[in-house]
């Protein structure tokens, strides 16, 4: 009996040590799968906004992801102003309005294509449609194109830094944190 309780104690003691070890190794394994610091510290992208042409989609790159930059025509701006939700999605630099958005469909991450005649984005993967402000016009995408963190710096746009205009978009729910 005495032996049994001793063995029981040894069993429990081993269980406790092994348990701590298991949790610690799981933590180490989780951390080993984390993105590396060099990946996390991937630089900021600076865009010169004076170089873009109206209604011509340019795809830039930020953290390995495509960024759509679409300078709006006067007609597009007028149409966007009819709906406050639409105009709030655009970034105003000087007197020009731009759509700057992550070029990944919010459904499952394919890259939509832009049709300058229809002024709409079509995602070929599952048939989702967006208008020229990046708002969804046909499911399955659950929300408009996400807007990357940005800071307006005169004529330039810094991607990866959070300026007051971006923070306001987060607050009003225009975009999710990308």
């Amino acid at each position: 009996m005495k032996n049994n309780s001793r063995r029981g104690f040894m069993g429990k003691a081993f269980g406790a040590v092994a348990g701590v070890g298991a949790v610690a190794s799981l933590y180490a394994m989780k951390r080993s799968w984390d993105p590396l610091p060099s990946v996390k510290a991937a630089g900021f992208t600076v865009l010169d906004m004076s170089a873009y042409k109206e209604n011509e989609l340019v795809t830039e790159k930020w953290r390995g992801k495509p960024i759509f930059v679409l300078k709006q025509t006067a007609e597009m701006v007028k149409k966007a102003k009819e709906n406050p939700k639409d105009i709030e999605r655009l970034i105003k630099i000087g007197n020009d309005y731009f759509l700057v958005a992550l070029g990944l469909c919010t459904h499952l991450g394919c890259i939509p294509g832009y049709n300058p005649d229809d002024k709409s984005f079509l995602c070929a993967c599952h048939g989702g449609l967006y208008d020229f402000t990046g708002e969804v016009t046909k499911a399955p995408p659950p929300r408009g194109l996400d807007i990357p963190p940005f800071k307006i710096d005169g004529n330039k746009l810094v991607l990866g830094e959070e300026g007051p205009e971006y923070k306001k978009m987060l607050e009003t729910g225009i975009t999710l944190k990308a």
Binding site: D34, K65, P142
Partner: protein, 404 residues
């Protein structure tokens, strides 16, 4: 310590140390298989052989493959295909086997469903088989990443995005799985590790479990007959092989098994040498490009049915339907409330359920391949609803099934 004597032969020497005679008896010559089975019972051996082909061809591919985003594409498409002697053979064997293995898995599964081979003590066979299906799916997906072509990259993007859980928006989890914001070096390296080490280890372990699960309940038969294996084995061992309902796994059954394997291998190598292209998506012969999505992204044929269950719905509903489709086959032994473990043809409504499920999955597969437009969208949507409906109906139709 056991008592050892001077060995009279190499066989005797091994037998004293490893009990090879006992091992052979337990695993082969006295492992009993019913007589009343057909060629569909050979699919297990066909799968084992196909897995062996994957393993051997994989070993040779591994010697030249480079898991690096800058080198991977050329190491496959140039080094292995053009420089390595017979490199093309290993690649085509590997690609064709990876595709055909799923065809055989589906035949093996539907054979089990038709003959009720997941009931009355055979539940663990079904569950371990489903775990193997999941492990093979993960193995196929991780292997598909390795050539680092356009389809590799975009399939990797889309499938890892599923883990964001739709509106849960768990981007942190997705980035954790990838080790980067997008599929890149860390992603390719870890999926390479999963493909060549961790998942194959899991598969080998699961195969042992799957075989072990067969041991006590034994293989089912095509008449749903409950066989007293001990009594029948006694008849066989007494020499009355004609009246015994069972035969030995080796050599009796194995000879029939290998006959089917032989026919299968002719078909298999016909594909390897003349039609390997069906397992090679042309889009994947473009190197991965994170800034250009291919016009249509679709998975390999064996994932199309579950992809089509995801596709016609909005994101969240689609994800729930997809998750349902992925796990629901596990629940088959518990959702089938009927005590009858007989062929579907003798089970009333279940017969119609079986054929409806089979046809529905073929329709889903076909609809998953075509672009999601017009008529095809609608057919896919109703086929997805039918799939879910059939599973909800299963406990009810089997509960009221007449006992046979």
């Amino acid at each position: 310590m056991a008592h050892f004597t001077k060995a009279t032969s190499l066989h005797d020497w091994l037998n004293q140390r490893l009990a090879i005679d006992t091992l052979r008896r337990v695993l082969a010559t006295e492992y009993w298989i019913p007589k009343n089975i057909n060629f569909l019972w050979a699919m297990g051996m066909v799968l084992a052989i196909t897995f062996a082909f994957l393993l051997v061809s994989g070993i040779f591919l591994l010697m030249y493959y480079q898991p690096n985003v800058d080198l991977a594409f050329d190491s496959v498409n140039y080094t292995i295909m053009q420089e390595v002697g017979y490199g093309w053979l290993w690649r085509h064997v590997h690609g064709v086997a990876a595709s055909v293995v799923f065809l055989i898995i589906y035949i093996h599964m539907f054979t089990g469903i038709y003959y009720g081979s997941y009931k009355k003590g055979r539940e663990m066979i079904w569950l371990s088989g489903m775990l193997l299906f999941v492990a093979f799916s993960a193995e196929a997906f991780s292997g598909y990443m390795l050539p680092w072509g356009q389809m590799s990259y975009w399939a990797g993007m889309v499938i890892t995005n599923l883990f964001a859980g739709g509106s849960l928006h768990a981007d942190g989890l997705v980035e954790w799985i990838r080790g980067d914001y997008v599929p890149a070096q860390a992603f390719l390296n870890r999926f390479f590790m999963l493909h060549v080490l961790l998942i194959p280890l899991a598969i080998i372990g699961l195969i042992v479990l799957h075989f072990g699960a067969l041991r006590i309940p034994h293989v089912n038969n095509q008449d749903g007959e409950e066989i007293d294996f001990e009594a029948e084995a006694a008849k066989y061992k007494a020499g009355d092989k004609a009246n015994s309902k069972v035969i030995a796994f080796v050599n009796d059954f194995m000879s029939k098994d290998m006959m089917v394997v032989g026919i299968y291998l002719i078909f298999f190598f016909y594909l390897v040498f003349y039609h390997y292209d069906f397992a090679m998506d042309p889009v994947n012969f473009d190197p991965a490009n994170g800034l250009k999505t291919p016009a249509h992204i679709y998975p390999e044929w064996y994932f199309l049915w579950s992809y089509e269950i995801l596709r016609p719905f909005s994101t969240d509903v689609g994800l729930i339907a997809f998750a349902f489709a992925q796990v629901i086959f596990f629940a088959l032994p518990f959702l089938d409330r009927s005590p009858n473990a007989v062929p579907a043809s003798r089970r009333g409504l279940f017969k119609f359920w079986f054929w409806a499920m089979l046809i529905d999955m073929i329709v889903l597969t076909a609809m998953g391949k075509v672009p999601p437009e017009g008529m095809f969208s609608a057919i896919g949507f109703y086929a997805a609803l039918t799939f879910i409906g059939l599973w909800i109906a299963l406990p009810f139709i089997t509960k009221f099934e007449k006992k046979v």
